[in-house]
């Protein structure tokens, strides 16, 4: 298992998340908005709605619809990204919806839609996690009824060692067994609303990774909660 001597490229401890920043109300036009960052990875999210779903044939008379759009700004990475949706961003948009929806009481808004726009300003890996964290805060800030916010983190396996909150250099880690990326989103109760994995891992170590995510998402939750509280007291 994890060797105690393993050194992360940027010197962080295995369970150390990069410095986080969380802030709400960053887009005055929106009904709710938030910024969330892990180090150099910065995501902003804005919520518009609930509003009537258009076109009408997309209306769901039984429940409201959550519609997320994940988008990276063209200059958020080294090689410019062509603007517009890609296969990757289409998938992450849907993953974001799935990660957020279990915590929302969106049933209360039949025929309506809640739009969540997530944009990555600057990317140094773990962008979907930062995006989900920002989006969940923005939904709370917009006053969308919810059970609670959700928190997202990427667990990495570098060679044989589990680490928290992968950055780009770690994502490209090549030594030994290479890098495995496991983004996970959880409710404060520890229920999994989203998990993905890319790489190579055993079942036993994956279970360990999930326990590590449980611990880290608690830390992230406190940061999100603090920012939301501050927005109403000041």
């Amino acid at each position: 298992m994890a060797t105690k001597t393993f050194k992360r490229p940027d010197g962080r401890k295995a369970d150390e998340i990069r410095p986080m920043q969380a802030k709400v109300g960053i887009v005055p036009n929106a009904d709710g908005s938030a910024l969330f960052s892990f180090g150099d990875t910065i995501a902003i999210a804005a919520v518009y709605g609930p509003k009537k779903m258009h076109p009408q044939h997309q209306q769901d008379p039984e429940k409201g619809t959550l519609r997320c759009r994940y988008n990276m700004l063209s200059f958020s990475v080294d090689d410019r990204i062509r603007p517009g949706p890609s296969r990757r961003s289409t998938e992450i948009s849907k993953i974001t919806e799935w990660a957020l929806e279990p915590s929302l009481l969106i049933k209360r808004y039949p025929n309506m839609v809640v739009d969540v726009h997530v944009n990555i300003l600057q990317a140094n890996a773990s962008t979907r996690c930062a995006g989900i964290n920002a989006a969940s805060m923005a939904l709370a800030h917009a006053g969308i009824p919810m059970k609670n916010i959700v928190s997202s983190v990427s667990i990495g396996k570098l060679d044989k060692n589990l680490v928290v909150d992968l950055d780009k250099e770690e994502e490209d880690f090549k030594e030994g067994e290479g890098s495995t990326d496991i983004p996970i989103t959880m409710t404060p109760k520890g229920e999994v609303t989203h998990i993905q994995l890319d790489g190579r891992i055993t079942k036993e170590q994956l279970k360990e990774a999930i326990e590590l995510a449980r611990k880290s998402t608690k830390e992230i939750y406190e940061v999100q909660k603090k920012a939301l509280k501050e927005s109403i007291t000041t």
Partner: protein, 266 residues
Amino acid sequence: METTRITGERIKEYLEKGKRFDGRKPEEFREISVETGVSKKAEGSARVKIGKTEVIVGVKLNVTEPYPDSPNKGNLMVTSELLPLSSGRFEYGPPRFPAIELGRLIDRAIRESKFIQLEKLCIKEGEKVWGVFIDIYSINDDGNLIDAAGLGAIIALKTAKLPEYDEKNEKVIYGKLTNKKVPVSKEIPIVVTTHKIGDGIIVDPTIEEEDVSEARITVGGSVEGSLFSIQKGKSKEITIEDFNKILDVSEKTRKKVFSSIEKSLK
């Protein structure tokens, strides 16, 4: 969702007693049948049926420039089309999310497992490499296209051979296959999707079961015990306990599925 609520409720009632409409047990897969060489034009191809669900997967190869971040490796691309012919639910037009996701799920299982030895598909570093295209088509959708597509992809790859390449004229001579197989590893990625419906956990859903499923976990792994790719789908949270149970179910299923198609991989 086109399955009626009353059918959905009945599916859940049945599952509480450990039963399914088609008489299967929750962790029972439908019969899998495999046929290879279904297209003469493809460099490798396979038809996979799981019950009434059917997919065709073809592998095409070309010579192309490598991606800048992998100058000494072949290119891999997996796409899928959900043909309107395979279900009244699919329409023509640009690929929508389910088709995009299907391609990406299979892409990741194959890529992360390093099943294709892409470094052996380099012709001239930084200039010329083989490109491998895996294209998945649905022929009949009665649920669990994902697992069928995963099997189709690995079986088609296993049968794929490189066409002749005329270096002088820089042309691939299609139709003239060499004896060189597409280089693949021993460890084979098998994709198994597990669903949670009410308190029940099932594998290999029919289309109705897929409709009422609340959480979907797709796992790509090998019988040797490595997991390469995971994706949770659908809007319902699951407890860590349930997730661990699902990992166990999918491991058992992976072994069963592998042994039922093993002879097609020879």
